[in-house]
């Protein structure tokens, strides 16, 4: 049976750690999901929430970041919501795979721009919607084994 938990914190870097603890606690302690699934879901959530704090809220604290974790027998859906600056249309779709950095060319040693590509590689489906002042990044991952709980 599908179960959902909503998690919310303020848009501060230290609060992202509370979301990590909660998400991993649910996936590990209560559901005993395989480690590879937990790692992927955890990393995708952290990257998505980092982006909300950094980009949607421009690093401003005091705003609401909401994560919804929906656990179905063979699927985990994750929604990260904010009411800040939406992502530019087409930005997510434009993300491709990681560029190979060249050891001889310092210009390819990029310090940023990996978050969305990491999310896409962790999750099977990634969609973004900005509607009525609420922005939602929807991410979904198929679970091989389903819930063991």
């Amino acid at each position: 049976m599908t179960r959902t938990i909503g998690l919310d914190v303020e848009s501060r870097p230290e609060c992202i750690e509370l979301l990590s603890g909660a998400l991993c606690g649910v996936c590990q302690r209560q559901l005993a999901l395989p480690a590879a699934d937990i790692s992927a879901i955890h990393l995708a959530m952290v990257e998505a929430v980092n982006n909300v704090v950094e980009h949607a809220y421009n690093g401003e604290s005091g705003h609401l970041v909401r994560v919804e974790l929906e656990l179905a027998p063979n699927r985990c859906n994750l929604r990260v919501r904010d009411h800040g600056q939406p992502m530019a249309p087409g930005r997510l779709a434009a993300v491709t795979t990681f560029a190979e950095p060249d050891p001889e060319d310092p210009d390819t040693w990029s310090t940023r721009g990996r978050g969305l590509a990491i999310i896409k590689s962790c999750m099977d489906t990634v969609e973004y919607e900005a509607r009525d002042g609420v922005n939602t990044l929807f991410m979904s991952r198929t679970l091989a084994t389903g819930e063991s709980a």
């Binding site: 230290e14 750690e17 990590s20 790692s39 990393l43 980092n50 310090t111 940023r112 990996r114 990491i118």
Partner: protein, 119 residues
Amino acid sequence: MILTHRNIEGIDIVSLSGRLVMADVPQVRQKLLAIVEAGNGKLVLDLKGVGFMDSSGLSVLVSVFKAARAKGGDMVLLGLSPTVRSLIELTRLQHIFSIFDDEATALARLAESAKSAAG
């Protein structure tokens, strides 16, 4: 995030332990850049104690790597946990970072690059 620092024959060895995430990034970046600045740019970064890292952590690694190279040195990585290793491989950074399992080999590599740079 706990950071410990030793210097062996001109090579800086820094161990991080904890989760290298956005909340810790400003402080860790600043400390590592200060170490590279003060030293000769040869740095072993021991990540044995780092169980989780996100892309903001990767950005620290790249920044410090760039600073080390700019000084004619190098930054090499030691003791990657499976999670951190797979993040680095996913993002192709193993093409620019040298990765070692034991400290002696890492130190030898940096000492060697020092010699070849001198010679």
